[in-house]
Symmetry: C2
């Protein structure tokens, strides 16, 4: 089993590679070779088989063809520039998120013309594909009406994934990730950053800023759950997907107030006191256009699972991010 | 008012240009200049103002920029290769229907960087953007899950139209046309051809083949209604569309049996006897994946109107196609 991970240097990419190596096999076949690509060459992990690390810009001519020429059996396509950057730089967003994806899909199609080749392709999409109208709970038949260029590019990626799969060029599955919480690392400028930082910082005794009301509700899964989604997507038979190749992942619908209550239960009142209210109308307005909850029936029927409470999400963070470093 | 029609040589393009010339004005402004483009140069119509006819392949580098350099105030983008051809020739379909559309949108965006430029863009989409699941009546929030490459390319065009409009590069509106019936001209090989031919041929005393059961239901509008949709789209303020720039047009949900009953009322039993039943399982299977009916509330609220009966659709055909030639 030869696996190509495009976007292997990011947070999700690194955790996914570690989990793949720890698991050792996919679809019952031992992993013997890893090709890890990103815009800067990823660090090579400890791995008993072959590892290649490649600095690759998918949107540059010929790069995708080179990556695919070694005929990986399984391809994770995680590479993307994030929402804020795709909004700030229109051309870069379309080049990386749309052209890069299309170049990869085209490279696979063209590779299959010389000799039969039908890799599995796991594509990461996002709940940013949803926009307007925004019912309180979004079902699996709801339309994609993104309100950002990033969401538009992900929605187009989903459409291409479905058509290339239908035409038999690869076996694709798209995974719409919830907002990842608790995102490890330092606070960043993303509008969604506070959902993680109001837990992450107090857990290590640092202050965090809450820019919105406690009633704000959103859709979450832990980094650990996200990695399990991608691994499960690689394992399952795609036949039950029919023509709808992309799935909204299960998650936890929770308000900021519920996040804070969970923090109180897990880390006490002292941690909660480190959250400083600093209302920010601009952030509140952005968040108001975001989905609150989903009825992810299709994914759940296929065995995808997420956390059931924020207590669990906080415990996952402590286990995966805080306890290893204390050990 | 300078109008660019891309795809002006097709059936809809020619009828639209004739209707624009007959109307004389759009948004209360006299039409002074027409640029008519298609893959082969359209015939120049009689018009008191300036007419240019251009042979243009939008997907070739620089072609879209040249078309847009004269800064038309209103652009109709009708150009596409049809469903069957896009399915038979994967690369051509993506080149013409996706790259061509994107080149046009990009040319407008780049044109606006030298000096303010915000044309209205009317984009023709199709009910082929709908696929699975397929409720009996499809509402305006239903997702786009196309089952053909053509439908995929149209759905991507809608997403790009929305994002380019949101970013302020142009003022776009997408029109999802119903199946056009009665399509004038000779019988063709399209799977949908019989919906028109079982009326069109008997009306001129010729035999037609019906390959499916009379219970088959689908969604129709006349060519005249389609032209009115495009003209109305050019007239209206797009503010009420919000971020959802594409609209399912109203139409008539009717069974083949209802088509035949209308033919009997308008043209008598002799005409109906010219329909020869010749069941075709392949065609029946294709049609089974097509939408049957829509609840086009948004478009109706904005003043779009279609026929209410097949009697009306047949009368429109007689007036527009048969009586002029008898005169």
């Amino acid at each position: 089993m030869h696996i190509l991970v495009v976007g292997a240097a990011g947070m999700i990419g690194r955790k996914l590679v570690a989990a793949l190596i720890a698991g050792g096999a996919v679809q019952g076949k031992a992993i013997t070779r890893l090709t890890l690509a990103d815009i800067i060459a990823p660090e090579a992990p400890a791995f008993p088989g072959t590892v290649e690390t490649v600095a690759a810009d998918l949107s540059s001519p010929g790069v995708a063809a080179t990556l695919v020429a070694s005929r990986p059996d399984l391809i994770f396509h995680l590479a993307a520039i994030v929402s804020g950057e795709a909004e700030a730089d229109f051309e870069k967003g379309y080049r990386v998120n749309l052209d890069g994806t299309r170049e990869l899909f085209e490279a696979i199609r063209l590779e299959s013309r010389t000799a039969p080749y039908l890799p599995k392709v796991v594509f990461t999409s996002s709940i940013a594909v949803f926009g307007e109208p925004l019912p309180e709970v979004i079902d699996d038949a709801h339309g994609l009406t993104p309100l950002t260029s990033y969401g538009t590019q992900k929605a187009i990626g989903e459409l291409l994934l479905a058509d290339y799969s239908r035409r038999g060029f690869f076996d694709g599955i798209g995974i719409r990730l919830p907002t990842i919480s608790i995102r490890p690392g330092k606070p960043n400028k993303a509008a969604s950053g506070f959902f993680s930082s109001i837990l992450r910082e107090p857990l290590i005794g640092e202050e965090a800023v809450l820019p919105v009301a406690e009633s704000v509700k959103h859709w979450f899964a832990s980094p650990r759950a996200a990695i399990k989604f991608l691994q499960h997507a690689a394992e399952i038979d795609t036949a039950p997907l029919g023509s709808r190749r992309s799935l909204t992942m299960p998650g936890l619908a929770a308000t900021v107030g519920e996040e804070i209550e969970a923090l109180r239960r897990v880390a006490g009142e002292k941690a909660v006191r480190l959250i400083r209210r600093e209302p920010n109308a601009a952030i509140a307005q952005i968040i108001a256009g975001w989905p609150q909850s989903f009825d992810a029936q299709r994914a759940m029927a296929l065995g995808f699972e997420a956390e059931k409470s924020f207590d669990e999400i906080i415990r996952v963070h402590i286990e995966d991010e805080l306890e290893p470093s204390r050990a």
